[in-house]
Symmetry: C2
Subunit: 351 residues, 2 copies
């Protein structure tokens, strides 16, 4: 039996190898062209880094479905599940999903007026508001164009483009719910989980099911993989909320407890409020720069006492367990095991 | 021979009848649903009015291709060009194009910080910046979802979705060029026409060729109709520039000559500068509210003297003539005649 640390290291290595290939494919699918400033702004966040977790899920799911050894087949010429020798460019599908993710980050940073992203200025800070809106809009349509590059047969392409479109609509709906929650003091855990599903989890769901659609898997497989992505995507976001409270600031790369200071709703705060805790006043300070570690420690102690942190941890664990069960539709192989490990990693990761 | 006034009236009547049907279809394709505020903001400009010129071009082209009497066939169950009795929902295609137009208006108004649109507050004024960005993003993906509702066979749907995606990318590129032109004093007429093609004309081109794609016409017809839309779309924008100078303010609904006051590049000002005229100082006033009719009259006299207004008029006329010629691929019928009249209307309209 391997240790959690060894498994985390194995996941990070597997993600890293796919990330290298995704990083090579991005400039191929999205070259800097005229008007250069627009395309440079569109590429800015993509080039600034990112773990590429969603493309990794997509590429690994393709390998599990095709029952091939991980990293043994060219993602650009990936074997169809049929017997006709047709190949599909699953890398284009992976880049398409990452491009959608990047578009939403650019527009979200404008909406939240965030200054930094991935250690660099947000696009509307590095460029300007007009360019950031347009860069996001350009990535939006480019994601559809890039999906068309997969070379999948027309009927599967239509399904893939429909998944892309409905996913984008749901992300907008989720972001709209998130914004509306800021004005409300009575959000329930069910409402919070619905918001997280729409804002975050649907793109993991798309990443997991798209290779099944593109390679020609049956509906049962597509649905199961969609469910896997939805479950682990929600767990990922809940874990983010937990980490904001429990990981030291220097490891987190931002002030621990910033969600509490900014009065952001998380599964933890929503649960605590349902237990009768005055969440809005857990931390007195109203500026992240001024909060002390002692204040955060005291707030975390209250949230532990109320069982809210354990509730969030438990919810994430349950979602990951359910997501992993859904992978039973896949053949038993190395890529399948990696998808199980990725699910665990999403809630076991230290930051 | 009919008078221009009688023809304009006939065009407006034909547009008006299709507009009624488009206005009925919009809430069917884009119902207000949860989260309501997001969908209300998404529908806000669509419900505020608009001529629906692009949907009219799409619906009329469908009628010309199918060789049916205008308004005699249900747009929701429109006959395929093949002999298999299949029907296509061309109204969904028309709504999809109008939804794209509305998304670009919402984001453009943010970028230009315009207060008013169609006589009502811009979406970011009526709601807020966050909601306006999200409303535009929602319409963007909804346009793809609505196009999928046409029920066209998969291969045609893929082509239609590709046209939609590349059209959106070009609109972003055109808008980016337009923004960059504001910083430059050396834009050429060719550069200006390229910008107008991308920012405005491609959506007319999409509207004209999409019914051919959806109904299964051959490539030659698709290309010719795309060219028709590109030509008349450019003529439409150039005519807008001319009208800004020549139509009395009360008829225009805004101050005549506002483009000059705001130092906006138009085909007229770009041409005048190429003739050595100091365009930036044609009008001294720097606020639209303060400009006098006498100042505008004097500026227009200079632009007439330089031949710049006639140059713009002539360019628009040439484009319309070329666009009309391209319609020779269509059967000779009433809808075909209406498309010719719409082309003339776009440059003969008084405002």
């Amino acid at each position: 039996m391997t240790t959690p640390e060894a498994r985390e290291e194995a996941v990070l290595e597997a993600v890293g190898k796919r990330r290298e290939q995704v990083n090579e494919a991005i400039p191929e699918e999205l070259p800097i062209q005229r008007p250069e400033r627009l395309y440079e702004a569109s590429r800015y966040l993509l080039d600034a880094g990112g773990k590429r977790l969603r493309p990794t899920v997509l590429l690994t799911t393709a390998e599990a479905l095709a029952d091939v050894e991980p990293l043994s087949v060219d993602y650009r010429e990936f074997p169809d599940l049929g017997a006709d020798g047709q190949t599909i460019d699953v890398m284009a599908g992976a880049v398409s999903v990452e491009v959608i993710q990047s578009f939403t980050l650019i527009h979200d940073d404008i909406m939240d007026d965030d200054d930094l992203r991935r250690g660099v200025p947000a696009v509307h800070k590095e460029y300007d508001l007009e360019t950031a809106i347009l860069a996001g809009d350009t990535l939006y349509s480019k994601a559809f164009e890039i999906m068309l590059e997969t070379g999948a047969p027309a009927e599967r392409l239509v399904d893939a483009l429909e998944i892309l479109a409905t996913t984008c609509t749901k992300i907008c709906e989720g972001q709209s719910l998130d914004v509306s929650f800021e004005q409300r003091g009575d959000v329930t855990t069910d409402e919070y989980l619905e918001m997280v599903e729409q804002k975050t989890a649907v793109l993991y769901a798309a990443a997991a099911c798209l290779p099944a659609v593109l390679l020609g898997a049956d509906d049962e497989t597509v649905d199961a993989l969609y469910g896997y992505g939805l479950d682990v995507g929600r767990a990922f976001q809940i874990q983010d909320d937990v980490l904001d409270l429990t990981v030291p600031s220097e490891k987190l790369g931002k002030q621990r407890g910033s969600d509490l200071v900014e009065n952001k709703q998380t599964l933890i705060t929503v649960h605590a409020r349902e237990q009768g805790i005055d969440v809005a006043n857990l931390v007195d300070t109203d500026r992240v720069e001024n909060v002390t570690e002692a204040e955060i420690d005291a707030a975390v102690a209250v949230l532990e006492e109320s069982g809210s942190i354990e509730y969030a941890n438990g919810t994430a664990r349950d979602l990951v367990a359910r997501g992993k069960d859904r992978l039973e539709v896949l053949p038993d192989n190395e890529a399948h095991d990696l998808l199980l490990d990725i699910a665990d990693y999403l809630i076991e990761r230290g930051y």
